[in-house]
């Protein structure tokens, strides 16, 4: 089995396969859309009620195995964004402050005087949101005194750099001590995504603060993505799933299975490694993750949308196969709409089978599915289950 792609969908598939005793090789080239996620799992309709159904057993087991996510509560989670919104989510990164259990309390919004973090404006925006008014939850600015020597870093480091700084135990101790005595000693504390780039760092600060404390959602490229990658790598190490980092160029159909052509850097030099796999799960990501490329009309000839590797499948958009595009005569994104960038993808059936024997697809690379972390995890697990079922049915 080969799983191409190391994001939510690919790792979920690898987890499901390995937990069913399958022999899996994972490969991916670099970070994709999952590494840019903001810390919330799913993209619910914010205005509507939270989906009350529990997660599937497999999905819950996967979240637990990775360890960076809090188990989903029955109400879902309520998270704060740096754009001043309180949004619902099914699950969240552990480091984020879930406001749902803190209804009706006065939440302290931490203020170090960071120029990009206007605590006063954020507190006001959150307090005025419908959820806060409904639940009588308040947000108040809590100024935190920090030693003069550390002030510069706290104020001027970029959010992700500040989070990485908190991985240093000395810094975590300093931060924890400063936060412990801030404002009303009872009230929960909400701050930006600065509590650490590793899941353990966050817990270290929490132990020192001794009251509910957590982050807002982060911008793309923030701490939540780093913590997911750290959790993934730790799980891969524990589970013994083989990983070969590199780029897959092509899948050549064999009977049965595929010949996989790609370049995997080994040490300092690039050696070409060819392999033969009975089944392949494509979890390459969409346009954002780099699994699907877009060529503008003025670019070299080719398809306007194309898979980043050569495989015996076609991309679809709006129920039709993506048409040829050449020179200045190609798909018109203005007419298709911005949604085309997230709707385009491989066409799969209910079994995640990508209309080619032994080829499965999951996550953003699939057409017409919601682009959310939870959807990717479900699809990855789904593809792995189908693989196992098909194998079981053909095995003697």
């Amino acid at each position: 089995m080969l799983v191409v792609g190391g994001g939510f969908a690919g790792v979920a598939a690898a987890w499901a396969l390995s937990s069913r005793g399958r022999d899996v090789l994972m490969t991916w080239e670099g970070p994709g859309a999952s590494a840019l996620y903001c810390g919330a799992l799913d993209r619910a309709d914010w205005a509507g009620p939270v989906d009350p159904r529990p997660l599937s057993r497999d999905a819950e087991a996967f979240l637990a195995a990775l360890g960076c996510w809090a188990p989903p509560g029955s109400m879902g989670a309520r998270l704060a964004t740096t754009a001043g919104v309180l949004r619902p989510a099914r699950c969240r990164d552990r480091a984020l402050l879930d406001l749902e259990p803190l209804r009706g309390q006065s939440i302290g919004v931490v203020d170090f005087g960071r120029p990009g973090w206007d605590a006063r404006a954020l507190a006001e925006a959150w307090s005025q949101s419908g959820w806060a008014r409904l639940t009588r939850t308040e947000f108040r600015v809590v100024s935190v005194a920090v030693p003069e020597a550390e002030l510069e870093a706290l104020r001027w480091l970029a959010p992700a750099d500040l989070a990485a700084r908190a991985d240093d135990p000395a810094w975590a101790a300093l931060l924890g001590t400063a936060l412990r005595s801030a404002g009303n000693a009872e009230s929960p504390l909400l701050l930006g995504p600065w509590l650490g780039s590793l899941p353990d760092s966050v817990e270290r600060v929490r132990e020192l603060v001794r009251r509910p404390i957590g982050e807002t959602l982060c911008d793309p490229g923030g701490a939540a993505g780093w913590r997911w990658e750290a959790a993934r790598d730790a799980w891969l190490e524990r589970s013994g799933v083989a990983v070969r980092r590199g780029e897959v160029h092509a899948l050549r159909p064999l009977e049965p299975g595929f010949e996989v052509l790609g370049s995997w850097p080994v040490g300092a030099d690039q050696s070409l490694l060819e392999g033969h796999f009975s089944e392949v799960i494509l979890a390459l990501g969409g346009v954002l993750g780099g699994g699907i490329r877009f060529l503008s009309g003025a670019g070299p000839s080719g398809r306007s949308f194309s898979l980043s590797l050569d495989a015996p499948v076609a991309l679809r958009l709006g129920g039709r196969e993506v048409a040829l595009s050449s020179g200045a005569l190609g798909a018109d994104l203005q007419r298709l709409g911005l949604e085309a960038l997230s709707d385009v993808g491989l066409w799969v059936d209910e079994q995640q089978l990508a209309h080619a024997p032994d080829l499965y697809a999951a996550g953003d690379v699939v057409a017409d599915r919601p682009r959310s972390a939870l959807e990717a995890i479900y699809a990855g697990i789904g593809a792995a289950r189908t693989v196992c079922r098909v194998r079981a049915s053909i095995s003697p």
Binding site: V85, D118, G290, A298, R335, L341, R371
Partner: protein
Amino acid sequence: MAIELGGERPDVDVIVIGGGVNGAGVARDCTQRGLSVALFERNDIAFGASGNNSGMIHGGPRYLTYNPDVTYTSCLDSGHIQRIAPHLLFRIPFLMPVHRERRGAKLALTLLDAFFDLYDKYQPLKHGKPHAVLTAEELQQLEPGLAGNTVGGVSFDEWGIDGVRLCVGNLVDATEAGADVRVHTTVTEILRREDGSVRGVRFRDLLSGEAGVRTSKVVVNATGAWAPLTAALGGLVPEQARIRPGKGIHVYFDRRLTNYAIAVRAIDGRQVFLEPWQNMSVIGTTDTDYYGDLDDVVATTAEVRYLIQAVARVFPAILEARAIGTWAGVRPTLYDWGPDPDGLSREHEVVDHGPHGAPGLYSMIGGKLASYRLFAEEMTDVIAKRLGVKVATRTHVTPLPGGEELVDPIALAEDAGIEPIAAARLEYRHGARSLRIVEQLERDVRQAAVLCPCEPVLEAEVRYVVQHEWAQTVDDVSRRTRLGLGACGGMRCAARCGAIVAELTGRSPLDGQRMALDFLEGAARRRLSAVGSVQARQEALSIAAVRSQLGTSRGIERPSGHLGPTGLGPKATATAQKRGAAE
């Protein structure tokens, strides 16, 4: 409403409709000559052609052969603008290669040389350098990205300018001399007395819903491409202020691709260009008859590809470059049936609607950015004569706000403790007024935060343009500061900007979020026609980022309680009413 009396005392001498460069120029000239002025702008300052052009006050060598008067006045006034707003000008040296495959290429180069000899006579008026004839090797050396077999080419000199800043400068100056400027306020009717003469206007603030009447002795229709529509508001037939609307589009890139502007021929023989402009490169422009919605002019994919194809023939790297946006405007060209749009006159004229039975109403038709000041002067001369004012114009010698003295950006950066690049961009936009903006940092150091890292724009500047330059939405701030127009498409700054604008204009944080989403969706729509391979991933990232932080405009919660007529909260309506009452 006031009782209609023949001898009623009007609120102001002059009402100007339109906050483009012509309206702003007239408002400034009138106030300088001691007239009281009120100006109404339906959208935003420089919303139309004034803010969506090639960003040059060029002398118009194109018009030299058939309309040398336009070239002369453009060059002369370009020189005046340099004197009154030196901070807003930047030199754009052009290269015009001549390709060998053209029949008689050598002769063409000789003719071009002779042509630019003639143009050189006008260059001193605008402090431009004379042209030079260059060999193929010299061209290649100056711009290594040039492709194709050339026999050489010529260089010539033009000046770049930010049209929005020019309009804002004129209006700030007018306001400081007593003019009342109202943005996002549409004129719903031009009021006339029984004898047909104009009495004033009826207006409505599109943000607060507040409506009212303002009376005046003269009404100036300076609404550019909207001129026929505006004339109709006064009971005239649209043809009495008719124009030939010509749409022009531009595509901009994430960086400066060349040091020189390059003039090239498109497939149909039209002259188009690639120019370095502020901190990016721009290609332009088209000129096509336009009969669509003037409040919503967007470049189409077909227009973008036409331009890219033209430039790629001479500068192939454009195909790999990352286009990050487009802008489009409609030129209010003098009406003429027949000629193709490029052949239309760029002259301007004042239409006196007296003979149409509406004395006191004037329409400004045609014109170009480079000669806006002259056009405004001519319009004001007509008004002054009608109102018996015997003061000559001084708009060509008195500096625009910020143009009084030159500020060194490096010293500004050191004094204010901000990045030199931020200081340089701030100084470009505001000239000496940048000192007032950094003064805000002394009171509140947090305003030194870089809100938009692409441009960059400081929080202090955002606050300044809301408080002193009529910005009332994120879109307005972006127009004045170029916030959110860079490579990240506003992903990092729109929400914060919306929060600040909402706070300063007495609206709720939710209104701020909605404004940010409106801006992001509008900007994405303008980008779509130009999105290429690299930009596609950025677009996908922007969608994901916005959805995770702000939601979608459909999903964003609506404020409860009483809403103003436009969906603004009660606080905003109250603020607007207070403002109206104070006046």
